[in-house]
Structure formats: structure tokens, C-alpha cells
Chain length 364, copies 2
Amino acid sequence: MKEEREPVAEHITNIAQEIKTAILAMKSPSLLTPVRSLSNVLFDTKEGYFRIGENVKKRTLTAATVKTFAQTLRMMGLSKELIKSDDTATKREAYYVSKNWGDARFSEQPESDSVMDDIEAMLRVNREQMGFIPGEHGGTVAGALTVIDRDFETKKEIRIDCTRFGSGAYSIPSSVEHLTFETSAKFILAIETQGAFERLNKHKYWKKSNCILIAMSGVPTRACRRFIRKLADDKKLPVYVFTDGDPYGYGNIYRTLKVGSGNAAHINEYFCVPQAVFIGVTPDDIEAYKLPTHPLKDVDVKKIKDLVKNDPFFKEHKEWQKALDKMAKQKVRVEQQAFAAHGLNMVMDKYLPEKIANSKTWLP
Amino acid sequence: MKEEREPVAEHITNIAQEIKTAILAMKSPSLLTPVRSLSNVLFDTKEGYFRIGENVKKRTLTAATVKTFAQTLRMMGLSKELIKSDDTATKREAYYVSKNWGDARFSEQPESDSVMDDIEAMLRVNREQMGFIPGEHGGTVAGALTVIDRDFETKKEIRIDCTRFGSGAYSIPSSVEHLTFETSAKFILAIETQGAFERLNKHKYWKKSNCILIAMSGVPTRACRRFIRKLADDKKLPVYVFTDGDPYGYGNIYRTLKVGSGNAAHINEYFCVPQAVFIGVTPDDIEAYKLPTHPLKDVDVKKIKDLVKNDPFFKEHKEWQKALDKMAKQKVRVEQQAFAAHGLNMVMDKYLPEKIANSKTWLP
């Protein structure tokens, strides 16, 4: 069992003990979980992320709740097993494991996911600490960073030097809680596209500017966000974010990285990166760097309106409101790769150094 | 300039010379490119991949073709520049570079992609050799393999030991032509999902069975296919493919890896993996391993019919026809992770060793 997951196993044991005690006392056992609907989600302006509110639902064992109740206990049992054996399971695997639970088996994965989310919220930990990992790819890393992992069998330290992968890179695993870091880098640069990442990696932008490059490949996965957060916290590094200049880059990629997502508010505490700042591409950059653009589509226009009006993050920041208004007026969007119009390496030799040096051009 | 790309630069120079000669002789210059429509695509049963036929179109410089003609020449020029400077550009960047070509600029990326495909077919090389790289992620690797790359600046050798990534992995770069390999592995295992890959990696299945694990994360990208092909060719390794048991896993993931795709027939020669065999999950496995299943959707049923009736690869192989018929009769599909119903490590301890040892259970 890994030390950092021990408290989770203990917490599970304690809850199970309480339930056993209630049953032996001939009382109905019950479980308390925070309400996970949007009505119980707040944007914490001080901490800077979506967090779950105080509302709690009590699930008492009755004839009507017996199945979900049993499923919750079995899922907690599976989590404890995974922690003890230092193993992990994807959400999908956990669903299949339930096929052996007799009447407590799940018939569809959304059911098991929902129970998992409940337990996550109940224990106030993230699913990865319970041993459940996402099945998705976690982003790629290159630059001035040594990741310290452990051999699963021998428990020996493994040191992964991210300057040593040539044109390739380090692929972040689904679960990153056990990783530690050594670095002399001055900042983290989180990049939307794999293409932009590869250009910067190939030309060793990380060496010239002493930084760590991370490709998010679109909306960052949980593992990617957690990795950036852990690294930035541990090493007190600023995080600069570089995406396309469009409502998707701002509202989906950057916003999810910085403050998390509304429908996973019970774990945003771990998966947001409050220290992230947005360096580009901004609507101002289009003028400053004379970038080729594309007209906004109807769906972009709609998305801008929605962000300005309904998204608590964008409502909170005047600078973002101004930027979105400007985009709506310019009626154009711009891509990371647009800098190529002025030479393939302009993004590296001019744009990024200038933007990073001038905090007045950033967005919060 | 990298040695292996020199012949491409020479080829470009020769074509440019011919055009210059024609112009100086007051003749209309012309370019010959293979016809890339499906009518000129054949399934090469001997070589085992989709290949382009003998039909050629001649593009002669006239008032009507002047723009495309100029664009083709400029794109060839850009390719030569990239080769000389040992640099690369994504398709998207190449499109943006054209914004400086005056009247020869492209107004949409599909136009520049099409010109790039023409040149690719004309030169009979793949786009990566011309310096144009895909913007997509190339798959992840772990196991008994050392990848040998080169430092872009110092040209020094970089050795990447894929047993040394802990729970993480090596991320394949977009362009792999310059990579070489050292390995003592007995086979390559190409896996559909990141989740299945991570389980096998975590438990060091690659050590127990002396193999190389590659996660394709869905339909393999060009870089991923080329990497597997190059590695399998260089080191004479068999390639075992492990996907979900559904028409998508068979018809999209496995088929694309093994024989390439119909609409990129001019480069399948480089991007197919003819040595690939399918080890599972097959419809027979559902019975043999008592796996939980899901009912086929209408779209699955339709896709099966389409594969049996229209796909030259599946039409070629009786074994596949039988498997697809069986799936249609069983009316169910099965996932890689379904083995978890019999214990999380069953896939590793029982299923994979048994299947790999018994070639009678494979599909071609």
C-alpha cells in the first residue's frame, strides 16, 4: 500500500465500521454525500475555482435504496482492495468488476460512474486517490524537468529526465499522485496543440527560455491538469497558457485548466490550476502581430455571448469581458499556428518571449 | 540536411529543372501526378495493402491552371527549404506560410492539403519525408525498446530507454523517419485503449513476456502506424493487435493499421503494417472466456454488413468473414476491459499469454 493513499483506506474502513455498528444496534445505516447538482456549485472567487457547496444528502438504507446502498459499499470495498494491492482500475474496469457482484451489479456504466462520483465527494478525495484512473491520455511533457516515479515491483526510484527524449516526449500517466519533481525551470508553458508543442520541443525552446513544455492536446484531461497543478505547487512555478484565439480555447481549454469544470465541482480543488495565466493568442495579438484570421462561425458568436453572460469565471474578470467583446466586434478568430505566416519560428523567437516578458498583455 | 531526406530534395530540384528547361524552350511546362481518386486504388493482395494504380494526370501550365501550378511549385519549394534546414511544419503551418505567397496563397486549408497530397504522390514519398508533419499525437510506448533519436542542434545521438518511464511512457513524435531502434523484445503488442495499455505497463507485462507495448488510443495516427512498421521491419518483430471486439475495432482500428486507408492509397506503402495479426477480442473469445457483452447497435449491424460486402480487405479473408458473421449472429460486442469481470489481471495472466501462444485463435 502506498503511504499517500493510506488515509483513504482508513476513511473507508471508518465509514464501514459506522455502518456495521448501526446494523448491530438494529438501526438503519446511512451515508452522507454532498449534493452534486449545479444548484450546489459555487465559484469560489477567493480560491479561484468552482467548488461544491454545503448541501448534503443522506442515503438511508431502505427497501427502495438497498441496491444503490449495496453498490456504494461494494465500490468502496473495491477501492480499498485497489489501495491495499497498490493497483488501479479504469472506471470501465470497475464497471466490469461489478458483473461479479450478483444483484448489486451495474447494468450500465453511467450508474457505476455516478456511485464513484458520490464516494469521491463523500471522502473528499479525488478518484485517482481511490485507485480509479481515467482511461484517457494525460498530455505530453518536454523540458527542464526530472519526474520522479517508482518501480511498481521493486519500489525503487525511477528518475525521468524530460530533456532526454529527442523529438519525442514524456507521456503523463493517468494517475500522477505518486510523482515528485526536480526542476530548475522558471515557468511552465501549457500549449493547446501537439503541433505547436512539437515545434517548440524540436527547437528546444525549453532550453533557451528555461521552461517546461506541456501539450494538452485540446481540453486538458484530469491527469494533465493534476500534473500541472502538482508541479506548479511543488516547485512554485508560474503557469503560462497558450491556446488558439477562439471561444473554445478560452472557454473550454483555458477555463477548465484554471478553474475546473462545473459538473465536477466536488474535485476541482485538486484539478484546477489557479496560478495559470493566459498569454495568448488574444484579440489584441491579432493587431499587434498582424495575424491571418478566420471569420467567427455562428456557433462561436453564440459561445461568446454565453461565456460573457453565464459563465461565473468570465463574469468575474473584466479583462476577459473586454477581450470577448473585442473578439465579437472583430468577428474573427485566430490560431496558434497563424504566426507561421511571418516565418515558421516567429512564434518562438519573437512572440512568446515578448508576451511572457510583458504581464500587461496577459489575461487573468 | 538529414541524409535520408536528401533524395527528396534532389527529386524536387530535378522536377524544377525540367520545368525551367521547358519554359526556356518556350514550351508549356507540365507536372505528372498519379490520380488519387478511389477509381485508381487497388487492394494489393500480394503485398497486403491498398495501393495506388497506374493512372496519371498531367497538369500543364495554362491560364486555367496557373494558380494551382504556382501553388504546387511553391509548396515544393517550401518542402525543399524544410529539408535543407532540417526543420518541419505541420499541414496547418504550411497553409499559413502560403499567406505570404501573394496571389498563390491558399484561401482554405483543404486546398493546401490537396496540393500536398499531389506532391506526395508525385514524389512517391510520404509527407513526413518532405518535412510536413501531422499535428496529432502519435501513440505511447513502453517496454523492452531503446529508441535512438538525434539532438536537433548538436546532432548527437540520444538513447531513449522505454523501460525507464515508470507509470508514464514514451510519446511518439509526429515524424519518426529519423529514429532507429535497439531491442531484445520478441513481439510488439499494439493496444486500442490507453486504459488497457496502462494496466499492462504498470504490471510490467512487457518484462514478463519480453515485448514492446504501444497504445494506439483509437484509430492509429500516421506517426503511430509508421513507428510500428519501421520498428517491426527493422527488428523483424511480429505485431499482435488487441482491440475491442466490435466493428470499429476490426474495421477502423485494425484494418487501418494493417492495410492503410482507401483515401490515402498513395502512401499506404509506408503506413501499413502487413505483418500485423489480430489476437482479439474475437467473437470466439466471448464464449471461450465467458465475457460480459453489450448488444450491437443498429450502426454496428450496418457497419458489419458494409465491411463484409464492400471492404476489399475483409472480402479477401474468409476467416474475417466468418468472424463478422458470428458477431452478427451473436448480436453482441465486447470490450478489452471486459476481462476485469474475472479479476483485474486476468487479461495479463491468462488471456494474452494463451492467445499469443495459439496462432489458431488469431485472425489475419
